[in-house]
């Protein structure tokens, strides 16, 4: 089941929430829609599901336009953030709910429910009411309902955001496994960039009513289309610094030690540079007058150390080192770049050049 969005626009009372959304999703693809809250990602999902009207544009499933089709005829399922389980029905009936409404034969319903329960490993809980289940189990019931319906397109609206961090990691791989096993085309809405990075085949980044970028997780990480995307992906967050372009040696200078080689000729003086924290380096300096920054904060995570430091020109940088360090706030350091960096146009905020290596 392939899906196509063509120039999708949505306005509420004349105020646009989405404008000119274009995307193609292939059969069997895990497609994540990511963006900050309020960017319209849930709206996009609900338009695809047929729960709200499309103001303008075309949505196609398998090449067939489905704009006017009722939700139930689009042959898809949806998993919600708050699970959308009926509290007065037990697990089994909750899963069979839609099948019964579609007047499927009793035998077939039984078979599908049993299969779905098995897939999510809840067979022992089928008599329970939702209130007697934990959050993770409830979400698995919601997944089972999607599985039982046999539709090949599954939409998920922030399904893991009510779960605690450990469970979330576990469910991520479970959902991914299910998607592979059942060959689902899965549209997954989330505000969590890590979920998108770890699960998706392709990611659509939405912000400010527009698609910012559609790419593979690595594509988005390695070649962010603009400053917003670079900022949104990666943890700890990318350093966004301002610098001057020196045309004579193809360099952007942030300060005297922090310089970026640029691979092509640029035509402006001021640029915004994005450097991932792991693409920065530093060495400690004993002399207080030397160096270009002083350490403000140190977080030791065991496998890596995150140092945040204040450059002498007033900008803050985060630097990640892949080892354990003993360094105290206030120490002088010389912060440098390892080479990889993104250069963004200061006005349009989109990618102007990429710097790779020195």
């Amino acid at each position: 089941m392939s899906i196509e969005f063509k120039n999708i626009t949505k306005t509420y009372d004349q105020a646009p929430v989405l404008e000119n959304i274009n995307a193609e999703i292939e059969n069997g693809e895990f497609f994540a829609v990511v963006g900050p809250s309020g960017c319209g990602k849930s709206t996009l999902l609900r338009m695809l599901a047929g729960l709200i009207d499309i103001t303008d544009g075309i949505i196609k499933i398998n090449g067939k336009q489905i704009n006017g089709l009722a939700a139930k005829d689009r042959n898809l399922t949806m998993v919600f953030q708050d699970y959308a389980l009926f509290p007065f029905l037990n697990v089994e009936d909750n899963i069979a709910f839609g099948l019964k409404a579609r007047k499927m034969p009793e035998e077939e319903i039984k078979k599908r429910v049993a299969h779905a329960l098995e897939m999510v490993d809840l067979s022992d809980y089928k008599e329970r009411k939702p209130r007697d289940l934990s959050g993770g189990q409830r979400q698995r019931v919601a997944l089972a309902r999607a599985i039982a319906s046999d539709a090949k397109i599954c939409l998920m609206d922030e399904p893991l955001s009510n779960l605690d961090a450990q469970l979330r990691v576990k469910m991520r791989s479970e959902i991914r496994d299910l998607q592979q096993k059942l060959g689902l085309t899965l549209i997954y809405v989330t505000h969590d960039q890590i979920e998108a990075m770890t699960m998706a085949d392709h990611i659509m980044v939405l912000n400010d009513k527009h698609v910012q970028q559609i790419d593979t997780p690595l594509g988005i990480y390695n070649q962010p289309a603009n400053e917003f995307v670079a900022n949104f992906f990666g943890s700890p967050k990318i350093n966004i610094l301002s610098g001057n372009y020196q045309s004579n040696n193809h360099e952007i200078t942030i300060d005297k030690y922090l310089k970026i080689k640029v691979n092509k000729k640029l035509d402006k003086n001021d640029y915004v540079v994005g450097i991932r924290p792991n693409q920065m380096d530093f060495e400690t300096i004993d002399n207080l007058k030397e160096g270009n920054a002083s350490v403000k904060n140190v977080s030791n995570l065991g496998s890596q150390t995150i140092v945040s430091a204040l450059l002498d020109n007033g900008q803050t940088v985060r630097i990640v080192k892949e080892n354990q360090l003993s360094i105290a706030p206030g120490e002088r350091i010389k912060a440098t770049s390892r080479g990889d960096a993104f250069v963004f146009d200061p006005e349009k905020r989109n990618l102007a050049a990429i710097s790779v290596g020195v």
Binding site: R46, F80, D82, F86, G98, A101
Partner: protein
Amino acid sequence: MENLNQWTGSKKTWHYLLLIILSLLILGPFIIGLWTSLLPTADISSGKLFIDNISLDNYWAALTQTPIIRYLFNSLFISILTMICQVFFCSLAAYAFVFIDFKYRNFYFYLVLSTMMLPFEAEVIPNFQTIKSLGLLNSYLGMVIPFMTSAFGIFMLRQSFMQMPYELKEAADVEGLSHWQFYLKGALPYSKLSIYTLAAYSFLSAWNQYLWPLLTTFSDDYRPVQVGLRELQSQETFNNWGMIQASAAIIVIPTLIVLYFGQHYFKSGLNEGAVK
């Protein structure tokens, strides 16, 4: 600290004293009524209330010599029919106000709500005209039709439907449930508590109707108990006070039964509607 304890201790005593006096004030008439229903009329009229020849004779007389059984049946029939209609129509209207998006939805809702401000007495004359021209005076339908729905019921069920997570409706849409299916299998069971409350409430208000049946019934065939009781009193030959008390006690019984079983839902349901 001791002072404080003394103070709170005596405060408690005063509270209880006040509560006991109030409950005696409220319960007094009931107890007197129940007591006199067990006494012979001759003794009541001569003011001899504290005698020991109590009996259930008055009850037997009420049941055999007056049409009270017929009244009870009429009331029961009217109340149950009103209750069913109210639950059905109010829940349908509330469903539409919550789950169906139509133009001027809020305006219509406030219009419905504004009828709550209208005292029933103001509706009596137009309603009477309507029922009269429908030829339904002195009939069961004439007593049910004006009360088939109520603004309060719509309001209460709307509040309770609004508390359902909207995702449930969306899930039902994706699963292919029609409005009817979602109404029957989703909305009603989810709001069970409020439905019970409305059922009990509408049953009781229909049971306790007085003015309307007084105006629209002319024969014992359709007269409900509350009016019937009054009728017993006003019959000239009838001044058997013991029997009247016994009849009054009899007609309270169904109310008590409904309240006893509905109490739990009644409280929580009414509060539920009020919180949001």
